[in-house]
Amino acid sequence: MTVSPDLDRRFREAAAAEHLLDVGFDVIDSPIGPLLVAATDRGLARIFFDPEPEHHLERLATTFGPRVLRSATTVDAVHRQLDEYFEGTRSSFALDVDLRGAAPFAQQVLDELARVPYGHTTTYGTLAAKVGAPRAARAVGTVMNRNPIPIVLPCHRVIGSNGSLTGYGGGLDVKEKLLRLEGALL
């Protein structure tokens, strides 16, 4: 006895509509490959370049609660804004974010990161200075590396002081693609 896609979808929609979820997620297509996007009632919580739910749900449950369910409606707004971003029609995101689970220093750095404008780049050292820890460039690099919401929190706009792209969780080719999309690289 197999549950039909329609019945399955109706349950998932009802669960989201009744706000019964700790975390809702979906896998969405993008020009840089499929992304797993997760949101709570407080806002966007995760974007993973690895779209395999089995790799992430246990940890999501530990951080936010066990009621983790795939439900497209919970990430509708994120999905739409990401589409617009990749089409080149959106240069900033109007989304609440849920940074529960991030350490205070990381939250501070991510807040500052969110202010780096579309089409611009900054360096790890500059970001460190902005949070009042000018010698913490490496620590800032670690925060970028663990950024829970890449793309929306634009760690791709942070590069080395010598202008090299350094690294990126989604792969350097993705970082380059995003910077080209934004016109920050020619």
Partner: protein, 186 residues
């Protein structure tokens, strides 16, 4: 499919409550099959959604992840009982059953079954409170109908031994389903 767990993870994860997505995907077909046999067609689909919404409402209060199939089938069975009660016009020939806590049958034997090991408890409750067939109980416990029958009967035997004959009979409700639970347990 979920990735295979390493041994130390398995030992830690034995009783952990899985993310709801895993729980739902694992049990949805069995629950729908059960409801179709009990209710048929559209009623089964409505009850399917309500079963998992109820499970979701209670899910963050679960203390461990054992016997989740029995648990969700118990919710489904309770819905079937409610649905049957709503569907049947009240007849003066059949005495109306007392309603307590919306789940009279379970409430009547809950205090007895609580003393049993989990598998026997599940088998006794599903058989005698919810009147499930041994095929369904086997589905719920992930075993065979014969093993389910044995679990229920050894549960009853254990109850009988622990309650010292006459005392047990006094605890067993005789008002509801006259002669039924009483005869089976006595």
């Amino acid at each position: 499919m979920r990735p295979a767990l390493r041994l130390n993870e398995m030992m830690e994860a034995v009783a952990a409550v899985p993310p709801f997505e895993f729980f739902y995907v694992e049990h949805r077909d069995v629950v729908l099959g059960f409801l179709r046999r009990r209710l048929g067609g559209q009623a089964a689909e409505d009850a399917f959604q309500e079963t998992f919404l109820r499970a979701l409402r209670a899910y963050d209060r679960l203390e461990h992840g054992e016997h989740l199939r029995a648990w969700v089938l118990t919710i489904a069975a309770r819905l079937c009982i409610d649905s049957a009660r709503r569907a049947k016009p009240i007849s003066h020939e059949v005495p109306e059953l007392p309603v307590e806590d919306g789940r009279p049958a379970y409430a009547q034997i809950e205090h007895l079954a609580d003393r049993l090991p989990p598998t026997e408890r599940a088998a006794v409750v599903l058989r005698y409170a919810y009147d499930l067939a041994y095929d369904d109980i086997a589905d719920a416990l992930g075993s065979t109908p014969e093993a389910a029958r044995q679990a229920a009967s050894s549960g009853v035997r254990r109850l009988r031994l622990s309650a010292q004959g006459r005392d047990l009979r006094e605890q067993i409700p005789t008002a509801q389903k006259p002669g039924r639970i009483h005869d089976r347990l006595a």
